[in-house]
C-alpha cells in the first residue's frame, strides 16, 4: 500500500487535472443535494413557520414528531424509499428507482425535518418579539407567516445551509435508492465508499477533499451571512 503522502499527492493531482469523471460526480452531487434542499425549504420553511407562529391542538405532538424526524437514520429512509419505488412497491410504476430523482426524494425526506425544526425555533423566537405588535397592527395569519419568514431571512439562510451540509455528506440513503451506478447515480459520498472498498484511494481521497472544501465554503458562507446580517441589525 502506498504511503499516505503519496496518495494525497495523487489525489491533489486528480483534483487539479479537472478529471471529467470527477467533475461529473461533483456536479451530480450538487444537483441532487441542491434540488433536495430547495424542495425541503419549500416544504419545511412554511411548515416550521406555522408551527412556530401559532398555537393549535396537538402542536406538542407535531413538535415531538419534527424533532424526532431530525434524527432519522439515513439507511432507514433509504430502505423506505426503496420499498416505495421498487417494482413491487406502491410507486414502482414511476420507474424512479436508481435514478437521481430517487436520491433527491430520499435526501428531501432526510433534510425537510431539519429545515422545519430549525425554522420553527427561529420563527418562534422572532414571533415572541413581534406577536404583540402584530396583534396591534391586525396582521392576518398569512401576512404574519410571510413577515416572519422575511424578517428571519438571514437566520433561515443558515438553516438551509445546515440542511445542505447534512444532505451533501449523506451516503446511506442515496446508495440504497441510487445504486451508485456509474455516470447515472454516482455521487461523491457513494463514490468514496465504493473506491475505498476497491482500494482506489486516490480518487476517494480527492472526492473527500472536495467534500471537505464544500464544508469549509458552507461554513464560510454561514459566517459571512451572520456578519452581514449583524452589521445591518437584521438579526
Amino acid at each position: 500500500m502506498e504511503s499516505f503522502s503519496a496518495i494525497l499527492i495523487e489525489a491533489i493531482g486528480l483534483i487539479l487535472s479537472w478529471d471529467a469523471d470527477v467533475i461529473e460526480i461533483i456536479l451530480l452531487s450538487l444537483r441532487v443535494t441542491l434540488t433536495a434542499v430547495a424542495v425541503s425549504c419549500v416544504i419545511g420553511l412554511p411548515l416550521g413557520a406555522v408551527v412556530g407562529a401559532f398555537r393549535f391542538p396537538l402542536r406538542t405532538g407535531v413538535l415531538v414528531a419534527m424533532n424526532t424526524l431530525m434524527g432519522l437514520p439515513p439507511v432507514v429512509v433509504g430502505l423506505m424509499v426503496y420499498l416505495m419505488l421498487s417494482a413491487s412497491g406502491p410507486m414502482g410504476v414511476l420507474g424512479l428507482l436508481y435514478t437521481p430523482t430517487a436520491m433527491i426524494v430520499a435526501q428531501t425526506i432526510l433534510v425537510t425535518p431539519i429545515v422545519a425544526a430549525l425554522t420553527r425555533q427561529v420563527i418562534e423566537d422572532l414571533n415572541g418579539e413581534y406577536a404583540e405588535q402584530f396583534e396591534s397592527l391586525g396582521v392576518g395569519r398569512l401576512d404574519r407567516v410571510l413577515a416572519l419568514l422575511w424578517d428571519a431571512r438571514y437566520s433561515l439562510l443558515t438553516v438551509a445551509l445546515a440542511g445542505f451540509g447534512r444532505a451533501v455528506a449523506e451516503v446511506g440513503a442515496v446508495i440504497i435508492v441510487g445504486g451508485n451506478i456509474n455516470h447515472v447515480t454516482r455521487v461523491m459520498t457513494t463514490t468514496i465508499a465504493l473506491e475505498t472498498s476497491k482500494g482506489n484511494l486516490q480518487l476517494a481521497l480527492a472526492l473527500g477533499l472536495i467534500l471537505l472544501a464544500i464544508a469549509v465554503v458552507v461554513n464560510g458562507l454561514l459566517m459571512a451571512i451572520r456578519g452581514t446580517a449583524a452589521r445591518a441589525a437584521y438579526v
Binding site: 413581534y130 396591534s136 391586525g138 396582521v139 441589525a233
Partner: protein, 256 residues
C-alpha cells in the same frame, strides 16, 4: 353598575357617544387581581392621560382597552359594540419599547399600510407624507433597528399614525428619551389630535400630562383612585394615593 370614571358629557353641550367604554373591567393573573373594577368612557377627540406608580396597572389597562388582553370580568365596548379584531384595526398602539421589524424605516411603514390593504400610489403617498411628518425622510432606507431610541420611537409613532387610527394608545412613548426626542414625540401626538385621533396616554411625566392631556385617570393597585380634568387632579388631588404620588411619597394601601 358604578358610574364611569371619565365621562366628559358633563363638559359638553351636546353629549357625544363614547368611542370606548369599559364597565367593571377586572384582570387576574397568577392568582392576583391586577385590574379591579375599572369603569371609564373615552369620548372622541379627547386626550385621556393614565398615571400611577409602577405596578399600578397602567400598561395592563392599556392592553385591555386595545384588546390585546381579555378581561377576566367586565366588558369593553368600541362604539357600543364588543371590542373585536375589526375594532382593533381602527386603533393603534405604541409600546414603551418599540418593536422594530428587521427591515428599513420605509419598509416598516409600508408593512403597516399593506396589512390594512393600502397599496399602489396611495401607499407611496402616505408613506412619503408620514416620513416627512415624523422627520424620518433622511433615514428612510436605514435599517430600523440601528436607529437611536428617539428615532425608533418616532418611527413607532409614525407607523401607528400612518393608518389614521381613530384611537391612539400610547404606553409611555417618551420614557427614557431626551428632551428633544420627547418634544418630537409630543409634536406627533399633537398632530395626531389635530387629525382627529382620540388619545389615551400612559405617562409618569406630570408636565407632559399638563401639556397634552384633557382628562386624567389616576390608577392605584389596579383601581381607579381618582379621575378628573388633568389640571384639577394634578393641582388639587383628592385621593390619598394621588396626593402621595404627586408629592413624591410612597403610598401603601391600608396603611396611609
Amino acid at each position: 353598575m358604578s358610574e364611569p370614571a371619565i365621562d366628559i358629557r358633563a363638559h359638553s353641550a351636546v353629549a357625544p357617544q363614547p368611542l370606548m367604554s369599559a364597565r367593571g373591567v377586572c384582570f387576574d393573573a397568577g392568582g392576583q387581581r391586577l385590574i379591579d373594577g375599572v369603569d371609564l368612557d373615552v369620548l372622541p377627540g379627547r386626550c385621556t392621560v393614565i398615571m400611577g406608580a409602577n405596578g399600578s396597572g397602567k400598561s395592563l389597562l392599556l392592553r385591555l382597552l386595545h384588546g390585546l388582553l381579555t378581561p377576566s370580568e367586565g366588558s369593553i365596548a368600541w362604539r357600543g359594540r364588543p371590542l373585536d379584531r375589526a375594532a382593533r384595526r381602527e386603533q393603534a398602539m405604541v409600546f414603551q419599547r418599540p418593536v422594530m421589524l428587521r427591515r428599513s424605516v420605509a419598509a416598516n411603514l409600508r408593512f403597516a399600510l399593506s396589512v390594512r390593504g393600502v397599496r399602489g400610489p396611495e401607499r407611496k403617498t402616505r408613506e412619503a407624507e408620514t416620513l416627512t411628518l415624523a422627520r424620518l425622510d433622511g433615514l428612510k432606507d436605514r435599517p430600523a433597528r440601528v436607529l437611536s431610541g428617539g428615532e425608533q420611537q418616532r418611527l413607532a409613532m409614525a407607523r401607528a399614525m400612518i393608518s389614521a387610527p381613530k384611537l391612539l394608545l400610547l404606553d409611555e412613548p417618551t420614557a427614557s428619551l431626551d428632551p428633544a426626542s420627547t418634544l418630537a414625540i409630543e409634536n406627533l401626538i399633537a398632530q395626531a389630535r389635530e387629525s382627529g385621533a382620540t388619545i389615551i396616554l400612559v405617562t409618569h411625566d406630570a408636565g407632559q400630562a399638563r401639556r397634552l392631556g384633557d382628562d386624567l385617570i389616576f390608577l392605584h393597585g389596579g383601581r381607579i383612585a381618582e379621575t378628573g380634568p388633568v389640571v384639577r387632579v394634578l393641582d388639587a388631588p383628592r385621593s390619598k394615593a394621588a396626593q402621595a404620588w404627586l408629592s413624591g411619597r410612597l403610598f401603601v394601601p391600608n396603611n396611609p
